[in-house]
């Protein structure tokens, strides 16, 4: 047992000097139109909204707001491209275009990662090492499938659907665009995509890449706006397939509006994943897994390990190690290469998180990492709650911030029961040195992804999706193709 008086000290001493990534190589226009039929056009409403850097609250650009008329135009352009070019193109030819997108994205990786961080607040280390390379990998991966669909569905004929309407969230703006666009294009569909209103810039940069790659006009259309724009896409009669990633509430509304229509749909919604640590786990690596599970991308991750279930005999040790580890997380300027936890994406999201912190304090004991955060911008220190239980709101509800709810368990079946006692079922994590326990757990946890001795690992070849209120359908991998084809004899 650790004695309480022996403490590690992480503050002061040798400090890392600021190491900001430079921004002089990037170009953000003062305003952006809608990318429809291969061109940037003015919105018919004439209205624009601001997109701001959440770390500084400074305005980055003005973004066009698309209304019903604009969405009509975008869907018409996508339909036309589907009929005249993309839908009739030989699959091998389609693949060449998709490979080209991937390669250009790799060439412009630095630019993409800087803009992603400026617009969304995530640490440059993450956009540089995870978001952008993974987005390019998705295009590479699905480019490879384009002319091999007969092998993906042996004995059946996979046909494209038509126009895909796609609405994506603000937590992984470019990566989510890649998840959506790459399989749609590979299967021969055309696309109308709406990025989130707080993070539209990398999707608009992607529009530039798509134009540079020489895709026929109208194959990919990117329309910006808020909720009403998204609703116009989802409800549009000219859309054959809806793909949405976002909150469970909006997902529910979409599912209602699609009821009775012939539209195919996939929904990637919320989560409240349990990270389960057994006493025989490699404790130091498990602590690292907790950190990656909940503090990665400020906890703005639908599959975040936002609940920690730790076996009682090691709970004290694990929590003490976690608190020490939290002291070494660097919170602040997302453009600094050493930053571990960046800015909260928007003032609205910060308010939401703070409301939960208030609730949590009445439900259990709150602990936050010390150290300063910048005065301007939206910030939340890494936070954990102990002494909370299944009945606590911070245990039940998705907070979508760097906030971890910690509970303990004694027996294997208790861990399973607690892990599954949630309306969500997107992901889960298991930490144990015993292989048989891993298999037993993964079979018992009702979640789309279960990681063993790691967390938040993504790969284009691996399907992703939820059980229960976490969503419908799978994206990624071979399974991800299914959402964009109709199968016939």
């Amino acid at each position: 047992m650790p004695t309480p008086e022996n403490k590690l000290a992480f503050d002061g001493g040798w400090e890392y000097a600021p190491a900001p990534e430079s921004t002089d190589h990037i170009n953000i226009n003062s305003r952006y139109g809608l990318f429809i039929n291969g061109d940037f056009v003015k919105p018919s409403s004439g209205r624009y909204f601001d997109t701001v850097n959440p770390a500084t609250e400074e305005k980055l650009s003005r973004i066009a707001e698309a209304n019903q008329t604009d969405v009509d135009k975008a869907v018409a352009a996508a339909r036309n491209a589907y009929k005249t070019t993309w839908g009739r193109m030989k699959p091998g030819e389609r693949a060449k275009y998709i490979y080209r997108i991937a390669r250009i994205m790799q060439e412009r990786a630095r630019e993409f990662s800087v803009i992603e961080t400026l617009d969304g607040g995530k640490p440059i280390r993450e956009s540089r090492d995870i978001d952008v390379p993974l987005a390019a990998a998705h295009f590479f991966y699905y480019a490879g499938w384009a002319d091999k669909l007969d092998y993906a569905f042996p004995g059946r004929k996979a046909r494209s659907l038509g126009v895909a309407g796609q609405v994506i969230p603000w937590n992984f703006p470019l990566l989510m665009a890649a998840w959506k666009i790459a399989p749609a294009l590979a299967c021969g569909n055309t696309v109308v995509l709406k990025p989130a209103e707080t993070t539209p810039l990398t999707a608009l940069k992607l529009a530039e890449v798509i134009a540079d790659a020489g895709l026929p006009p109208g194959v990919v259309n990117i329309v910006t706006g808020a909720g009403p724009t998204g609703a116009a896409i989802v409800n549009h009669p000219g859309v054959d397939k809806v793909a949405f990633t976002g909150s469970t509430n909006v997902g529910r509304m979409i599912q209602k509006s699609l009821a009775g229509s012939k539209k195919k749909y996939t929904l990637e919604l919320g989560g409240k994943a349990a990270n389960i640590i057994f006493a025989d786990a490699a404790i130091d690596q498990a602590v690292e897994g907790i950190v990656n599970g909940i503090f990665f991308n400020q906890g703005h991750v639908c599959c975040a390990g936002s609940r920690l279930l730790v076996q009682e005999s090691v709970a004290e040790e694990v929590i003490a190690r976690l608190k020490d580890r939290m002291e070494t997380l660097i919170v602040g300027n997302p453009m600094d290469k050493n930053t571990d936890v960046g800015a909260i994406n928007s003032s609205m999201q910060l308010e939401r998180i703070q409301a939960y912190l208030k609730v949590g304090k009445t439900e259990g004991e709150m602990h936050q990492s010390s150290g300063r955060v910048p005065r301007k911008g939206y910030w939340c220190r890494p936070t954990i709650f102990t002494g909370v239980s299944q009945s606590s709101r911070v245990v039940q509800e998705e907070i979508f911030g760097p906030v971890l709810a910690i509970q303990t368990f004694r027996r294997f079946d208790e861990a399973i029961s607690k892990a599954n006692n949630t309306p969500y079922g997107l992901s889960g994590g298991i930490w144990t040195d015993k292989g048989s326990k891993i298999f037993k757990m993964t079979q018992s946890i009702r979640a789309g992804v279960v990681w063993a001795n790691t967390f938040n690992k993504f790969d284009p070849t691996s399907p992703f999706g939820g059980y229960k209120e976490s969503g419908v359908g799978r994206e990624g991998g071979l399974h991800g193709l299914d959402a964009y084809v109709k199968l016939g004899a």
Binding site: E15, Q285, N453
Partner: protein, 308 residues
């Protein structure tokens, strides 16, 4: 009498309670340390700290009094062209060279470390190892770098290894004891962690990765596992133990990664030569080159730096 003997005897720690180590996770953590970007003032500070943590080493069969004397001169005068440099923490030599080093370092605050206990293989009897240790201490060594009996450890005879360290520690007297695990021969990170615990409970003042004679020598992975063992030992007992990665660290960049790892694992208290050392022979010149570059803006030819 039997009772008091029991009272003073150190208890073999329960190695079954030592936490497991997951190699994949360790690799990931190490990769994160390596993404830290250390620039400008913090780089200069780090480089100077690294110099002060070096155990300047020569452990060759061909070592002579002349060679060791030169090494000691280097330890005192790292690069006089650049004022304000610290001196290294120690020179590290074979027991027969301790007397030479003592003479050469007279009047300077530089430790004399001597390898002992049938270094590097440790394949000898306990009495020979103890004589080896006593001889080095008598000649003036202030630090003893012993090797553990890897054969006994791998065969599961932890008691033998444990008792041997206790005996050597006793033979050290006032000299600090560094216990070399020779991680390159232990094979797994789980064994590295167990051996670290064993050595610390037996009374090691420092734990050290390698002799430098076996590949792989020090890696960030094994060093991280040892640092975590040191942390747990400290939290449990309140006793600080030092860490010395040795062999294979020859560039400033890599040494800075080690400092980042040290800072983020054990915190500031360990960021001194008292608690952290680099066992290295060629690292010093690379650090000096980097420091000159920081002060002049250009890299100088390696020929401007003395090779001893």
């Amino acid at each position: 009498m039997a009772l008091s003997a029991v009272k003073v005897a150190r208890r073999l720690p329960d190695l079954s309670r030592v936490p497991a180590v997951d190699e994949v996770g360790v690799n990931e953590r190490v990769a994160r340390f390596q993404t830290r970007s250390i620039k400008s003032s913090s780089k200069v500070e780090a480089l100077k700290l690294i110099l002060s943590m070096i155990d300047l080493t020569t452990l060759e069969g061909q070592d002579t009094a002349g060679k060791v004397t030169q090494l000691c001169q280097k330890a005192i005068h790292l690069h006089d062209a650049l004022p304000g440099l610290p001196h290294v923490a120690a020179v590290c030599v074979y027991p027969t060279m301790v007397g030479v080093a003592k003479k050469a370092l007279a009047g300077h605050d530089i430790n004399i470390a001597s390898v002992a206990t049938a270094f590097p293989s440790g394949m000898s009897t306990l009495s020979v190892k103890l004589d080896d240790t006593r001889m080095a201490v008598a000649a003036g060594a202030t630090e003893i770098d012993m090797v553990i009996s890897r054969g006994a450890f791998l065969s599961g005879d932890y008691r033998y290894v444990f008792d041997e360290i206790i005996a050597v520690k006793k033979a050290c007297g006032d000299a600090h004891l560094k216990v070399i695990l020779e991680t390159g021969e232990l094979g797994t990170l789980d064994r590295v962690r167990k051996a670290s615990v064993l050595a610390m409970y037996a009374g090691a003042d420092f734990i050290k990765t390698s002799t430098g004679k076996i590949q792989p020598a020090a890696t960030m992975q094994v060093t991280l596992v040892m640092l975590q063992a040191i942390r747990d030992f400290y939290l449990e007992t309140g006793k600080m133990v030092g860490m010395k990665p040795a062999g294979g660290i020859s560039t400033s960049k890599l040494a800075i990664h080690y400092l980042v790892m040290l800072k983020e694992t054990l915190g500031n208290a360990w960021m001194t030569p008292e608690w952290f050392r680099f066992g290295a022979s060629s690292l010093a010149n690379d650090v000096l080159m980097q420091l000159m570059k920081q002060s002049t803006g250009v890299y100088q030819s390696p020929d401007y730096f003395s090779k001893d």
